[in-house]
Symmetry: C2
Subunit: 148 residues, 2 copies
């Protein structure tokens, strides 16, 4: 059935961030829906952020569009220009190649939840606030190109 049974899809807290950058996403739970539902044109994840958790380190993608829609709770979108509060129904889009890092953070005392979609051609990008960047494959790198 095309209606997605979220409870049947494994939820994970995994991150590949090196310490100490993994700490901020320790309260991030996500389900990668694409493989379970047979979609290959784009990736889809359902993400829940516990109080205090971040969606990711603040980053931008060189070669991958992203789109998110808030489902419940409240999140703060942080970008170069500052902070924007998001509520259920709010949508955000990040076009590839725009070097303005973004992430969502939960500063409330209850979980928030959103769906995020991305393209399938990740060609790297950078983290705005820390000395780290990523490529389409391989380990995280310092901005001078040395691996973590």
């Amino acid at each position: 059935m095309p209606k997605i049974d979220l409870a049947s899809i494994a939820r994970t807290e995994t991150t590949t961030y090196p310490a100490p950058f993994d700490q901020a996403v320790a309260g991030r739970h996500y389900r990668q829906l694409g493989p379970a539902i047979g979609l290959t044109d784009f990736g889809v994840s359902e993400v829940t952020l516990d109080p205090g958790a971040w969606s990711s380190q603040r980053h931008w993608h060189e070669g991958e569009d992203e789109f998110a829609v808030m489902l419940e709770g409240e999140a703060i979108l942080v970008e170069d220009e500052g902070r924007t509060t998001l509520h259920a129904g709010d949508m955000v889009a990040w076009a590839k190649g725009v070097r303005n890092g973004h992430h969502l953070i939960n500063e409330t005392d209850r979980p928030c939840r959103f769906v995020v979609l991305g393209g399938t051609s990740s060609t790297g990008g950078e983290y705005s606030d820390i000395d780290m960047k990523f490529t389409g494959e391989g380990p995280y790198l310092h901005k001078d190109g040395t691996p973590y």
Copy 2:
């Protein structure tokens, strides 16, 4: 700003369906968000269905994944197997090439609203309940290949 200002994006009721198939979508309002927000990896539309309106004629895509998330109200998903009621937060996915037509219809007395995402490689498909099919370009066709 990546937070999408929906009110700034033109809403349309346009359909290219030939009569009488256009009648069922007369109460469908949509905004194509992709061009306004700079996304090219996938298409995104916000769709509102007035009471009685359909999202489309029931159809499937040969070469385009689709994903939708309900934002408000209630819609009925209709497929070969029957009907499924969708509420805010429910997600549905239709993998390309699966010849099981789908559409959402609003049988309530208030509008419902959802976001739908699709791939960028439409290679055609068919309508399940009427004598019509579509290709990646060009006019709608009868199932014997003659154009409308």
